[in-house]
């Protein structure tokens, strides 16, 4: 039986964190709508990326709204995340969510205990990144920029991205292909190196 586990058994087993793991770290993968966050997480995650929803209101706050407005639905935000076992005793969670200001509650939850944030940027839509940077900085998160290289997107020089986004000189800017595991890993490495510099 051990030598030939059924696929069901394997699937059942693989959803859990290894029992030796004692620590969990969290990095946020942020960016505007459709920038490639889910793709990025999927390229690195050892589990099928999961999606869950966060309600945006306190339980009692919207009762009247729901009664009063026909067809109104509660605001929910999708939260995509994946997991990566990095050593015998450490797993890394990657959480991705849109960067709209109206999702503050979710951001608070996400930012708590996060090592830092990787900000995915579409070079053709740089202006959509501004509000996301405001959020990251508002929560005091350290971050690095990963310019997601879309096939059809114009090629931007690092200096252009820096200037357009008004970055600090030491904020890392890397290019990545969110579909590629190695490329995505390299982008995270740039972030973690930066975090280490800021910690020393």
């Amino acid at each position: 039986m051990d030598s030939n586990p059924s696929s069901a058994e394997t699937a059942q087993k693989s959803i859990y964190v290894s029992s030796a793991v004692t620590n969990a770290a969290k990095i946020l993968v942020v960016g505007h709508f459709a920038v490639g966050k889910t793709t990025f997480i999927g390229s690195l995650s050892e589990i099928t990326p999961l999606r869950t929803e966060e309600k945006m209101t306190q339980a009692s706050a919207h009762v009247d709204d729901l009664r009063g407005v026909t067809g109104k639905t509660t605001t929910t935000v999708a939260l995509d995340f994946g997991r990566l076992t990095l050593s015998d005793d450490l797993v890394l969670y990657l959480f991705g969510t849109p960067g709209q200001q109206r999702f503050m509650q979710l951001w608070e939850d996400m930012a708590r205990g996060a090592l830092g944030a990787l900000l995915l940027v579409d070079p053709a839509r740089l202006e959509e990144t501004f509000p996301v940077i405001d959020l990251i900085e508002g929560y005091g998160l350290e971050y690095a920029i990963a310019v997601n290289c879309f096939d059809s997107a114009p090629v931007y020089e690092e200096a252009e991205v820096r200037e357009a986004l008004d970055l600090l000189p030491d904020t890392p800017v890397v290019h990545c292909d969110a579909r590629d595991q190695q490329s995505s890993a390299k982008a995270l490495i740039a972030l973690v190196r930066h975090l280490l510099e800021r910690t020393s």
Binding site: Q12, I15, Y16, V17, S19, V21, T22, N23, A24, A25, K26, I27, L44, L50, R51, T52, E53, E54, K55, Q58, A59, S60, L66, T70, K72, T73, T74, L79, F81, R83, L84, T85, L86, S87, L90, V91, L92, Y93, F95, E108, D109, M110, R112, G113, A114, L115, G140, L141, E142, Q181, Q182, A185, K186, L188, I189, V192, R193, L196, T199, S200
Partner: protein, 124 residues
């Protein structure tokens, strides 16, 4: 009797969550972070009167450690609702947690170095 169409505004996800939690407000993330690892403690008995969501959590968490976010994701529950039910189980002594992740952003170098080494091993 109402038809399915008439019923839908009342049985929105919001109302369902409200019913599951018994109308209680959701706990803050101070209680359980999204990436806190939890599992069922050994030799525990399912509380009498546990609802279907608690039963589902019980079953899922009996298999090993998962993060709070994963419990929510696997069961299709909003994170806040999963957190509340897990907090209940924790307070009743049914849950084990792995060392709480640090809450502030002042992360220790050892963790960062471990993360860095792990990522570097991916790119060979």
């Amino acid at each position: 009797m109402t038809g399915p169409g008439e019923e839908s505004p009342v049985t929105s996800d919001f109302v369902r969550s409200y019913v599951i939690t018994g109308g209680r407000s959701l706990p803050s993330s101070d209680e359980l972070a999204l990436h806190t690892l939890v599992t069922l403690a050994p030799d525990r008995t399912l509380p009498l009167g546990a609802g279907p969501e608690v039963k589902a959590i019980w079953e899922l968490c009996s298999g090993g450690y998962l993060s709070v976010a994963e419990v929510a994701g696997h069961l299709g529950l909003p994170v806040g609702v999963a957190r509340l039910l897990l907090t209940d189980l924790s307070e009743q002594g049914h849950l084990l947690r792995r060392a709480e992740p640090p809450r502030a952003q002042n992360v220790d170098r050892a963790t960062l170095e471990k993360v860095l080494n792990g990522l570097q091993s991916l790119i060979g």
